[in-house]
Symmetry: C3
Subunit: 155 residues, 3 copies
């Protein structure tokens, strides 16, 4: 157990664990938002999900797409496309020996940008609100990837 | 090499590696299930995939959606949305120094719930079978995230 | 900081960090390719993204699907389904104490196969080009998972 405790005692690693935890939880909350819209808009995709509304044609009419449901789903997919690379590259970055202040700067900007992105997507805010918040998070991940490849490079 | 060997010698980490490996393999098997339904239902999405059925209109009719294919794809996407956060948060959790028995409890329940979820989706079982198995896995991941944030918190 | 430096000094871990960084960056580039096709083909999905083209019907006609956009999106989703398991299983594999030459062989073949897969999808190449490149990457990930489970197995 000694080793684990040591890694989690490293300050950069603790910061990584905190922010990775926060953005992964944020990503998981998209499931609840989608479920909320599916239930309030009565828009489902699986026949077995509409059975509580009755049988036959009465239930079938709830097998439909809804703009709010689709918007939440797109936000969730965008999170998968951006938060998952952050979590993977961020782990390697945290192990590549960055300064704590530099690491915190990366983690904080990314996390703030992705939270903004979710609000920009769901409200929705006029462009380029969503585009900019996406680009900020994307650039932070590239900056971390550059540090990882510069430190670890072994092809 | 000494260090790696040490980390993999940690019992909690070994348990994590075992269960993360199992659920990631389970997730990857969804590709084979989708491919199986695409081939047996003759339902493709890329024109180049239907060329072996002939040219022109004869091949075009296989560019269509099929309920079984779409169901397998939804199950796969749901795995990405749930198993990927488990793998990320679970790694941090394994490094946060939990008791082996507590960690095993989390990993076993999550893995069981996600295997159930796949069967509930593909058969499909009547609700709330799929919903409950999803909620159990979701809750386990949150429980691990709570431990991670409590141990590592450095904002 | 000592520990992090040690992990990143391990040659197998450095190789893992290099190749995981490369394939994650490759996956992220799919966002730019999708954005490029959305803008050049004028095919958007969010109403707020078309407002710069004018209001009302004039903008609405750009809310449509385009074959090139959809193809890039499918390539991106396929990356999520295959590169994410590689990154997760590859980390555990790198920590399971493989020979450097064996590890490099796995990482190089996987990375080459996924880059080929992207070209095969986007050009597109006739089948079985895309299918084979997918199968090679898939098999490499299974081979690593086998080593992980053999080394770590603790159920």
């Amino acid at each position: 157990m000694a080793k684990s405790t040591q890694l989690i005692d490293n300050e950069v690693f603790r910061a990584y664990a905190t922010y990775a935890g926060i953005v992964l939880i944020k990503m998981m909350l998209m499931s609840l938002i989608t479920a909320y819209f599916r239930i309030t808009r009565k828009a489902f995709v699986n026949p077995e999900d509409t059975e509580s509304f009755g049988k036959g044609e009465n239930a079938k009419k709830y097998l439909r797409t809804d703009p709010d449901v689709e918007r939440a789903r797109r936000g969730h997919l965008n999170d998968l496309e951006n938060i998952v690379p952050f979590v993977g590259i961020g782990l390697l970055y945290a192990l590549s020996g960055p300064e704590l202040s530099t690491a915190l700067l990366h983690f904080r900007i990314f996390t703030g940008a992705r939270i903004l992105h979710t609000f920009a997507y769901l409200i929705p805010l006029p462009q380029p609100g969503r585009g900019l918040s996406w680009a900020v998070g994307y650039s932070v991940t590239f900056s971390m990837a550059y540090k990882v490849l510069k430190t670890a490079w072994l092809l």
